[in-house]
């Protein structure tokens, strides 16, 4: 480091050199931290995408994900945990909000976490649970902060995954995924799904006392999400702009499921009962993941 000075005698003469050397050391530290965080954010994003990809092969709702998913995704959860631990020390105290570069990774992880949580419980993971999850993954150096903004933007993206999940399920099983009925409500299997979903909003508002009576399906959950996300006021600034952008995509996603369900309802009756379109193609990636 000192050699640099002797190269240029003109520099050594500057009375400000000592001051700038101090700045250099600190700026270098800052840039190192920032680079570590950018890299961690990318790795977390990539691993989260892979988790989501595997989760899209799940067909059942409201129960633990199948062993092939647990097994296949274990390595990615591990990567994410390792990355959070790697940068935890860099984002403590004063530096907690200094590196917004982590937000990309946080959002993608939020998407994976909430999708996984939804598939297993058919509920939306709470902000506090999600935040605590990231904190618990961050290790002993202190928590990496998952901000409310990260959470909300991640949930917006999760709507897209629920859309894909729904469409795939409709294409392969010919019906919209729904939770397990607590009572033996066989009716859902016979009734056209469309009617079911349409009634859902009205039904549950009036008879909220018996929510377990009829299992919710993905579309009713998507509508609930849409409702909450639409009435959410994000305010101005970058977050507000991000929310407005994502809100358009979110609405399209819900629309897509509604359209697909419409088609299924209209044309579904023309199909022979039990006709399943091309399941083999869907199985292939499942086998690969073992």
């Amino acid at each position: 480091m000192k050699e640099e000075k002797s190269d240029k005698p003109e520099q050594a003469a500057s009375p400000f050199m000592a001051m700038f050397e101090g700045f250099r050391a600190e700026l270098d530290e800052h840039h190192d931290r920032r680079e570590r965080i950018i890299k961690a954010s990318r790795d977390i994003t990539a691993a989260s995408k892979k988790i989501i990809f595997t989760l899209q092969r799940v067909r059942a709702l409201g129960q633990s994900v199948p062993p092939f998913v647990v097994k296949g995704n274990a390595q990615y959860w591990e990567i994410i945990e390792k990355q959070y631990q790697h940068i935890a020390a860099d984002v403590q105290g004063l530096n907690a909000f200094r590196y917004p570069q982590i937000t990309g990774g946080n959002q993608e992880f939020m998407e994976a976490l909430s999708f996984h949580h939804y598939l297993e419980t058919q509920t939306l993971i709470s902000y506090d649970d999600a935040k605590n999850r990231v904190a618990s993954m961050s290790g002993s150096a202190g928590a990496v902060l998952l901000t409310p903004e990260d959470y909300i933007l991640g949930i917006f993206d999760m709507v897209g995954e629920l859309m894909r999940f729904s469409i795939t399920a409709m294409a392969t099983n010919g019906k919209l995924p729904a939770g397990k009925p607590r009572k033996e409500a066989k009716a859902t299997h016979e009734d056209p799904e469309g009617e079911d979903a349409d009634k859902m909003d009205v039904d549950e508002e009036t008879s909220a006392s018996t929510p377990a009576e009829k299992p919710r399906n993905v579309l009713s959950d998507l509508r609930a999400l849409r409702l909450q996300l639409e009435i959410f006021e994000a305010g101005g600034g970058k977050f507000g702009a991000d929310v407005r952008k994502k809100a358009d995509v979110m609405r399209e996603c819900v629309d897509k499921v509604e359209k697909a369900l419409y088609q299924l309802t209209v044309r579904g009756t023309e199909r022979p009962k039990g006709w399943v379109p091309d399941v083999r193609e869907e199985r292939r990636p499942e086998v690969e993941s073992y």
Partner: protein, 245 residues
Amino acid sequence: MSAPSGMIDPAIFEGLQTKVDEDTAVRDELKDIIQALEKQNRNISFVLSRAHSTPYADLPSVLKASEEHIQNAIETVSKLAHAASKQPYYKFNGMWSRQVQDALQGILFWAWLGGKDYNGNEAKCGRLLTLEELGEVLKVPTNLKDRDEFHITIEEYLIALTSLVEELTRLARNAVTLGDYERPLLINQFVKDVFAGFQILNLKNDILRRKSDGLKYRVKDVEDVVYDLSLRNLVPKKGVTIKEE
């Protein structure tokens, strides 16, 4: 308000909405202070720009006229520091860093013109306030690392410093117009010294990098002024600070 399903616990979004609304309220509070600072910065720069058309001997009048505005800015920065320190520093600092840089630049220029050490005699030009000294003038901490409070950062200081160099480049030419051949030499040395400092920094692609990239052109601009003077034998003999190459 509650969703028509058990999918979402309504408390989730209620809680988030509260958090986001709180941040909006903080922004509104800060915005008022920052706007006040912006106005005061304009006043400082308005008064100090008279230095470009004021002969060296009359500089004290410019410094005197700027005092009130600088004092206002100092008070506003204290107010900002008080309000901002209730929040995590880096959560909102993007809101004011531009205005703080402008305030720093104003004070750096004022101090360079001799405002900091002015004792009633002739103003003595050429002083660079350090980051710490700036903090003392503004009565706020600088370059904090151990606690999360309002402070002046290294980056803000360095960016203000590049603005100072731009201002001085302009002053070098204007001094010549005023018949002052000495200050261009002083500025030449000063700008070179600052530039030498910037050269040892490892800058990334950010605003500081872009700002510091412009410095070499300012160095050249001032050198051109000095060259013009020396070509015409206008360089004062006593100030042999410049070594001809």
